[in-house]
Each structure stands twice: as structure tokens, then as C-alpha cells.
Symmetry: C2
Subunit: 376 residues, 2 copies
């Protein structure tokens, strides 16, 4: 069972702004995670284009695997036979897996939801499958995730109150069943509950009220970043976070931009995941302290400087924008790697800086400096 | 100017077989190369999918860049502005560039050959360009290659005696002009001549006779591996190698399979390059001591073993065939990297084993053992 230690809980006002940023540690069987933390996404047993040593270099403390994807490919038989996902991919630090809920929303064909679970067709070959809340936990136990997620029904935006309520009710039902199954199986690893409720505050309250009745070791806010405007996302997070137990980790799923991380850390979120740093890297978009740049831009053709002079990542320590532009324009495989290393490093460095700021009681100052540097 | 030291020159008979394998060192401004050596191909300023640190891990001593490709992308202005290709790509060991001759044959559109050089259209955008023998050297000087190649006319197989003779004559003419230009420019770096002559022994003799009149620091045999049967390639190499100066390095361009390397080292070739280890890696074909395997094969689905138990590469030291198969089948970018590391390591390890065998006077024994292990 994980141990969450809340080292510092800011609750400071500056002008009309309140900081609820928290500093903590999560201790798992595979090591300690400093929070707030960002989790790089390793969908299919690989954070695309980079190695586990490069994840270490980027100071990754925990990575995320996608249960839906791993269940389809390579499949549970392979992962189990090879001794679990940690062993399979040679990652010896903590790992979190989602439950598949987001993929049923974004990817799977013809997902059908019932009290029993979700019937769906593979996006790869159309084959038919069924996830019960118990099966979702069982698969994650085979994967061997340090933190597993309860099966949830994630809906898009906009959605009616009725639809949202239906998804919320199923999510609560499945959370209870998944939790009971996990308890029966000896409560190995850790299972988090997922709050749903769409863009309705009272439904978020209802979901949080129901889910926190269950003694999950941590909670996530799901169903955000599904097409809603940014301010609505913040509003929902801001409404929901205070409804969650103070002494358990809080994870906002699938979020977000560097600005999102700064905002959401400021209101008390501890864990994040997003494909943005890795996916955007493969599209040539790189994060810097003054905003994003696109490495394909002609102005970088003869540019001897690194992406960001203040960055200590492998890419910035060795390569010019000119070379990175050339690799990207030539579609060299090394391009995706060097870009990804930089972006993941940037995200995790940003989290480290936020932790330092919280520790030193200067999160407001950090935030002011962060925004004052932005040019785009 | 490079220094070639011939450390050992076998000239041994066993039964009816003669070994002419040679052991040597080539000293350049960027370090010493042990020969016989294989040069991984870094077409566009990157050995596809791997980093310079991984090249070091694979024990690469020299890599090859393609002048035709680099001239088109990123272009001489970029490379010159960034301080040469070594600095641009952060490779501090020796580098060889070809002259473009092979790409005029294989890739460029509408190449037109004259005494003055080659007019061609870019395979990328159809833009028109012209390489004189002087320009080919000049570009390579900008690139900063430790070993540059003289402009040559490479023809396919089959080709008539007349065509072959025409290409040979131009190659000799250009070799003289390129050499003179190189001398005028202070003879910085090193320039090798390329023997042509197609599949006609007397034309190979003629070309070698003409080219070796010029005091190049080394010689290459070009125009092989252009579609001819394997035994014809060996026959031409076997005929031509003894016509080259003993105390200068001998390089067979664009060859080959592991078997080719063993055969050609045995008849006195010192240097090789080929895209095979890297290209085949990206197609899932991996080299082992018993032959090649295709990692996509279903039999590797649950296979916990490394590619080759006897291989010490990063990939074999860490990953199972099962994981490598999963990555390959999922088209994960890490797949190309892990496969390429293994194949390049295999090639360079094979060269190291051949050098050891020559040094210890047991090249025949090595060759017998090499073939006795092969299963395919």
C-alpha cells in the first residue's frame, strides 16, 4: 500500500489569489515519488522514442502505461509471461496505469456501457472485448502497476446533464465493484478512484461524495480536457479538488500545457499526465521558458544556439537548433528522440522548480516569474 | 595526411586456400582506425535512429556521410556555418564521405556525364545541380571529412564493355582533376581514388593501373554490389585488390553481408561500408552468430532470451526478443534504435574478431568457425 506524506500545504493569500499548492511524497514498492509530479506517457510499454535511461536523465519518477493499449498489444499473456511490465520494458521505478476509460471514449469502436462494464471493439482489428470493473483491475494487476485506476466512464464535452449523470452513476458502481475485487485479491499495489461529473459542479460534488466514501489510496479527476474551454476545465478542477481528502494524492488525468500544470499545482493537484510533451516533440514543437518554438522554422537554419540556453537536458547540452531543424526536416529518427528528451526534461524540470518554490514558500513568486518570461 | 601502418600481412595457404588478410591502422586528424574496419552509414548526418554515444558503444571508429545527400540537405552553407559536419553532428572521430558517384547512379534524376563532371537533378525537388571533380572535393572539404572520395562514374550491371570503358575513362580524368585541385588546396584531409571497370577484368586492370599512377593516400573499389551475382563481385574484388599498392588502405564500397566481409577481409580488403546493418534493423532483420532472424516472427512472442546470448550490445544486455518483437510490431520508434544498435554492434564486433584472428595468425580457423555456426 502506498504511503502519501504531505510535507507542506500552502494555504496562502496574496491579493485576492489563494495558493493551495501542496508538497508531498508518495512511497510505492518501486520507490518514492515527489509531488507535485508529471508522469510521461508510455502508451505501449515505451515513452515514444526514448529509452529508460533517457527517462532517468529527464528525472522521470513515474511513468504511465495505457491498459487498453497494453491489453490489446502485446496482451496480458505476454506481459505476464515476461514477469510484468516493469521487467518487460526494464523500468524499475513506479508506474501508473489508467483503466481504459479514456480510450473507450477516444478510440475504441462502438463501446457499449452497462452495469456490468464496457463492451468494445478493438481500434486495431475490430475484435470484440469486454472490460468489467473487476477485469480492468485484474489486467492492471498483471501489468503490475504501482498505481491502478478504477474503471470509469469518461464522456466528452458538451454532454447533457442526463448523460453525465448516467456516466457518473456507472463510474461509482464500477468503483465499488473494482475496489471490492481489489480487496479480495489482497489489495496488492494501489487502486485510485476517478471522479466524473462532466462540467456540472453539482455532479462533480455528487461523484466526489460517493467516491470518497470508498477507501481508495488516492483519487483522480477524470473527464477533463475532453474538448471544454480552458476556463471551464480550471473551474471544474477548482471546484472538485477541495472535495477530495487532504491526506491522499490527487491526480488530474490527461492535463496539460505547462500553464495548466502551474495553475493546477497552485490549486492543490499532485499528479499529472499528458501526451503533450512527447507528441508535440514529434511534431517539432518544443517547450522553452519563454513559450513554444517550432524547430522547423526557417529562422533556425543557421542557428548555433541550443533550444533553450537555460536547459540542461542532453539535447540542449549537445545540439544546435540548426542540427535539430535539419534532423526534423529530414525526418531522421534521431529528431524525435532529441526533441522528446528536451520536452520531457522541460516538463519534469518545471515540476521540480514548482516543488522547490512550494518548499521555499515562494510559489506566488515562481508563478509571477513563470508568466513574466512567456512571450507566446 | 593520413598514416597507414600495415601491422600484419598474412599470405598463408591452407589446402588450396590463400589468405591475404591484412591488419593495420589508419591515423587521421580525428584519431586512429583499426583495419579491417566497417563504417556505419550516416547518410544525412545521423546513423539512422542511433546517437553518437550509441555509435561509441557499438565501437564505431569511423562513420560515413553521403556528399550528395548532405549537399542537398542541409547544404554546404549550413554545414560550413556550423563548423563542419563533425561539429554539427557532434561526432569527434574519423569520418569518410563518398563523392556522390553512387547516388548519381542510384538516386539522382537525369544525371548527365561529361568531361566536366555530372549535371543532375535533385531526387527531392528536381532542382538542377552540377558536380565537377573539383566541386566534389570542395564540398567534402567543407564537410570536413577525414577521408574524401574522388568523383567517379558508377555504372550498373549489366553494362556493355563500351559503356564501362566510357565510365572508367571519365573516372580517371576526374580523379586527376580532383587530385590536382586537392593538392592546390593544400592537400588537407585525405583523398582516395576509386577504381571502376565494371565486371571486366581487363578494364579493372586498366582502371587500377591508371589510378595508382596518382599518389592518392588510399584506394577504393567502386562499382560493385550494383546488381551482379555474388561470385562475380568476389571475382572482381579478387582480381583488383592485388593491383592496389600494398602500403595504402583498400576500401570496397557499399559491401556487404557478414559473409561478404569475411570473404573480402580474407583477400585483403581493409575498409567497408554498407547500409545493410542499419536498414535491415529497421525492417526487423537482426544478425546473429548463426545467421539472420526476423524479430516479427510469431515464435518470439513469449521469448525471454536476448537476440543473441553471446552478444554484449546494449539491446542484448537488456531486452528480450519478446519486447523487441512487441516494439517492432507496434512500430515504436525505440524498436528501430534497439535493432540498429544490435546490428551495428554485430558488424563491428565481427570486424574486431577478424582483426584478433589476423593478429593471432588464425584467420582460417576463424573463418571455419564462422561458417560452421551459420544455420541460414
Amino acid at each position: 500500500m502506498l504511503k502519501f506524506e504531505l510535507l507542506k500545504k500552502a494555504n496562502k493569500k496574496k491579493g485576492c489569489e489563494l495558493s493551495r499548492a501542496r508538497l508531498g511524497t508518495i512511497t510505492t514498492d518501486h520507490g518514492v515519488i515527489d509531488t507535485p509530479i508529471f508522469m510521461p506517457v508510455g502508451t505501449l510499454g515505451s515513452v515514444k522514442s526514448i529509452s529508460v535511461e533517457e527517462l532517468d536523465h529527464c528525472k522521470a519518477q513515474i511513468i504511465l502505461g495505457n491498459t487498453y493499449h497494453l491489453y490489446l498489444k502485446p496482451g496480458c499473456e505476454v506481459i505476464e509471461h515476461l514477469g510484468g511490465l516493469h521487467e518487460f520494458i526494464r523500468w524499475d521505478k513506479p508506474m501508473l496505469t489508467d483503466s481504459g476509460g479514456f480510450q473507450f471514449f477516444s478510440l475504441a469502436k462502438l463501446a457499449k456501457f452497462s452495469d456490468e462494464g464496457v463492451a468494445f471493439q478493438s481500434h486495431i482489428d475490430g475484435s470484440r472485448h469486454f472490460f468489467s470493473p473487476e477485469k480492468a483491475v485484474e489486467i492492471q494487476m498483471i501489468i503490475g502497476a504501482d498505481i491502478m485506476m478504477s474503471l470509469d466512464w469518461c464522456i466528452g464535452h458538451p454532454a447533457s446533464k442526463k448523460q453525465t449523470r448516467q456516466a457518473l452513476d456507472k463510474t461509482t458502481l464500477w468503483a465499488e465493484r473494482g475496489f471490492d475485487f481489489w480487496q479480495e485479491k489482497g489489495a496488492v499495489n494501489n487502486l485510485f478512484g476517478i471522479i466524473q461529473g462532466g462540467m456540472f459542479k453539482h455532479l462533480r460534488s455528487l461523484s466526489a461524495g460517493q467516491l470518497t466514501q470508498i477507501d481508495f489510496p488516492g483519487f483522480a479527476i477524470g473527464g477533463l480536457s475532453v474538448g471544454e474551454p480552458k476556463n471551464l476545465m480550471y473551474e471544474m478542477a477548482d471546484h472538485t479538488l477541495p472535495l477530495l481528502p487532504v491526506h491522499k494524492p490527487r491526480y488530474i488525468m490527461g492535463v496539460g500545457t505547462p500553464e495548466d500544470l502551474v495553475e493546477l499545482v497552485g490549486i492543490g493537484c499532485d499528479m499529472f499526465d499528458c501526451v503533450m510533451p512527447s507528441r508535440n516533440a514529434r511534431n517539432g514543437q518544443l517547450f522553452t521558458s519563454w513559450g513554444t518554438i517550432n524547430i522547423s522554422n526557417a529562422k533556425f537554419r543557421l542557428d548555433k544556439e541550443p533550444i533553450d540556453m537555460n536547459c540542461n537536458c542532453y539535447t540542449c547540452s549537445n545540439y544546435s537548433r540548426s542540427y535539430l531543424r535539419h534532423l526534423y526536416k529530414s525526418r531522421e529518427l534521431l529528431s524525435y528522440r532529441l526533441n522528446t528528451i528536451h520536452n520531457i526534461y522541460y516538463y519534469l524540470d518545471l515540476m521540480g522548480k514548482m516543488r522547490d518554490a512550494i518548499r521555499q514558500d515562494r510559489f506566488f513568486e515562481f508563478k509571477t516569474a513563470f508568466y513574466s518570461k512567456r512571450q507566446n
